[in-house]
Symmetry: C2
C-alpha cells in the first residue's frame, strides 16, 4: 500500500483551472457502478467473499494496466489508514464517506498517478470507477471512463441484465450505473438571490444538486454539483446530453448574474472580492466553511478580471489544502478544531501573499 | 474669515500619538465656560446683543493674541460656512453640534494654528474655550487653557459670583465652568466584556462617559470620553485629581485586559487585528462606523507591538479623515451616503498600504 502522505505535496489535477468554461465549471466527473456476476453485493457479502471480490478486481485492474497512466498507480486500503488518511481521500474526492467508514473488509482504492481516474472496490457496489477533469467536459470524461470500463469488462464478468442493464446494489443505479456530475461555482446566482429557484428548477428536470462533498453536504464555497438522478431506461448519451444542456444554461445564467451584479453595484462586487481576499490574507483563525466562502470571493474576482494579484492555481489549491484532513496530515500531529483554524489561516495568509 | 478647506491638508495635532500613555489615552481636553457680566446668556440674547457680545470677545482674543501661537489664528463663522464646513469643525472636535446649528447670529470660532486651543463664541455660553492635546496630560492642558483664561479676564468682565463662581447658561456648568475629559481607546475592556460594569462604576463617581462625538454619541471605534460632571463646589484641582485617578485606573485595567486577552487567546487577538487591517486594506465600501471599529483593531495591533507594518500616524489620521464631512470636503462635490462609503474605502486602502 502506498504512503498517503505523498498525496499532500501534489496539487489536485481536477482543480488546475484549464478546462473549458473554467471560470464557472470547476470540474466534471463521471462514475460507473459495476458488480461481478455470481457474487453478492458488498452489503450482502461475507468478509471472505468481499476479499475474494477485491482480489479479483485488483488483479483485473493491475493486469489491464488501465490506471497506469505513467506506468504506475497507487493503492490504498481504508482499513490500513488512520482517520486522517481516510478523510484525506474524501477531501480529494477519491473516496466516498461510505467507503472510508467501517467495515473495511475487502475495500480498496486504486488511483492513477494524477488522480484523474480511480476505482473504489467494495463501496456500495463492488466497483465504482470514476474519471474527473477540470472544467466542463462531459464527453471527454465519459470517453475516458468508458475506455477503462471496456478494458475491465474483458477481464471481469459484470452482472448485467438484457432488460435492465447493469445490476447495482441500489436500484437508483441500475441501468447505466452511471452518475455524471459537473461542479459549478455559482456566486453570481447566490449573491443575486437566484440560486433557490434555480435549484428548484433543476430538481424538476430529474437532476440532483449537491454540495462540494456530495450527498447531504451543504453548498459551502458557492459550489454546486449537478448530476443525473436516473440511470434506468436512458442511454448514457441521453443522460449526458440532458445534463450538458442544463449545465450550459446554468453557465449562461451565472455569467448573466455576474454581469448584472457588476452593472448594478460594481463597488459592491469589488468590496465582496476585496474583503474575501483581505480576510484570507490577514486572518489568524478561520473555519473551513469561511475559508471556502472567502476563496469563492477571490475566485470570482480573478474570473471577472477584477483581481489579478493572485495566481488562480493557488486559490484552487487552497480549496483542497484547507480541508481538515489535509491540515491534519500536513501537521503530522493531532490538531484540535481551534488549532486547525489557526493552521488554516496561516496557510491562507502565506499562499495568498503577493 | 478663513478658508475651511485649508484644514483638510493638516493632520489633527491632538492625534499625533506622542502624549503620555498614548497607547490607551488618545487625547486630553479641558474647556472652560465663561460669560460677560451685564449681558444675557446667548439663548436669551437678541441677534444684536449676540453680535455685540461676539465683537467684544473677538476683540479681546485678537488684542490679547492668546491664540496666535504662530503669529496668527483662524476665525470661522458657522453661518458663512456650508453644511460640510460646519460638520468639518465638529469632526475635528473644534465645535459642538449646538454651535454649528442655527441660529448662527453672533457665533464665531477662533482657532490657534495647530487647533490645540480654540474658542467658541455664543455657543450655550458666550465663551467656550478649550485646549486639547494628545495622550493623557490633564495638568498641562489645564495650565494652557488657564493661561488663556487669565489673559482674557484682563480684557473682559466675566459674570462671576463670589458664592457660586462663574455663572453659566446651564446650571451644570456653574462654578468652575470647567469640563475636563480624556478620550480613551478601550478595546481590551470591550472585547473582554468588562466595559459595561466599568462604565457603571465610573458613573457612580460623578463622572460622565460619552462617545467620540460627545453627548449622545455612541461608543464607536472603542473610544470613550471620560469627563467630570460636577463643576460646583469643587476646585479645579480637586476635579482634575479625581479624574486623573480614575483615568489611571482605567488605563491600568485596559492594559490588564489586553494582557489577559493575549494570554488566553493570542490567536484570537491576532485574528481581530488582522481582520481589521484586512478589511480596511481591501474593502471598496465601508461605513464610518465600521471604519472606526476596524481602525480601533489596527491601533490595538500597533499598540501591542503585534502589527508594525503601518505607521500609527496614518491610522490616527484616518480616525478623522474618514469622517463624512472630511470626505465630502475633500471630494469638493456632493456625495451620497453610498459614494462616501466608496471614497472612505478608497482612502483607507491607500493610506494603509505597506
Amino acid at each position: 500500500m502506498d504512503d498517503i502522505k505523498r498525496f499532500l505535496d501534489r496539487p489536485v489535477s481536477f482543480l488546475d483551472d484549464t478546462g473549458p468554461a473554467a471560470d464557472i465549471a470547476i470540474s466534471t466527473r463521471v462514475r460507473l457502478a459495476r458488480n461481478l456476476a455470481g457474487f453478492p453485493f458488498p452489503n450482502a457479502a461475507s468478509a471472505e467473499e468481499k476479499q475474494q471480490i477485491c482480489d479479483l478486481i485488483t488483479s483485473a485492474v493491475r493486469d489491464s494496466r488501465v490506471l497506469d497512466f505513467d506506468g504506475e498507480h497507487n493503492e490504498f486500503s481504508p482499513g490500513e489508514l488512520d482517520d486522517t488518511g481516510r478523510q484525506l481521500l474524501v477531501e480529494r474526492r477519491l473516496a466516498s464517506k461510505e467507503f472510508v467508514s467501517s467495515p473495511f473488509d475487502g475495500k480498496r482504492l486504486m488511483v492513477c498517478p494524477l488522480e484523474r481516474c480511480s476505482i473504489m472496490i467494495n463501496e456500495e457496489d463492488q466497483i465504482r470507477m470514476q474519471s474527473i477533469r477540470p472544467g466542463f467536459q462531459l464527453q471527454e470524461v465519459f470517453r475516458e471512463i468508458n475506455r477503462i470500463d471496456d478494458e475491465l469488462s474483458c477481464k471481469l464478468d459484470y452482472a448485467f441484465d438484457e432488460q435492465l442493464g447493469f445490476l447495482t446494489s441500489c436500484p437508483t443505479n441500475v441501468g447505466t450505473g452511471m452518475r455524471a456530475s459537473v461542479m459549478l461555482h455559482l456566486p453570481g446566482l447566490v449573491i443575486t438571490g437566484q440560486i433557490a429557484p434555480t435549484i428548484q428548477g433543476i430538481s424538476k428536470l430529474n437532476l440532483a444538486v449537491r454540495g462540494i462533498f456530495g450527498e447531504g453536504s451543504d453548498y459551502r464555497g458557492n459550489l454546486f454539483q449537478i448530476s443525473n438522478q436516473s440511470t434506468l431506461g436512458e442511454s448514457e448519451e441521453n443522460i449526458l446530453s440532458t445534463l450538458s444542456a442544463v449545465i450550459e444554461q446554468l453557465v449562461f445564467h451565472e455569467k448573466r448574474a455576474r454581469q448584472t451584479m457588476l452593472k448594478d453595484d460594481r463597488y459592491g462586487v469589488l468590496d465582496y472580492i476585496g474583503r474575501s481576499y483581505g480576510i484570507l490574507r490577514h486572518c489568524y483563525k478561520i473555519s473551513g466553511e469561511e475559508a471556502l466562502k472567502s476563496l469563492s470571493g477571490v475566485r470570482l474576482g480573478v474570473d471577472l478580471g477584477l483581481f489579478n494579484s493572485v495566481d488562480i492555481s493557488k486559490v484552487n489549491e487552497l480549496f483542497i489544502a484547507t480541508g481538515s484532513a489535509h491540515l491534519q496530515a500536513n501537521a503530522g500531529i493531532d490538531l484540535s478544531s481551534d488549532e486547525r483554524d489557526i493552521r488554516r489561516a496561516q496557510l491562507c495568509r502565506e499562499k495568498l501573499k503577493f
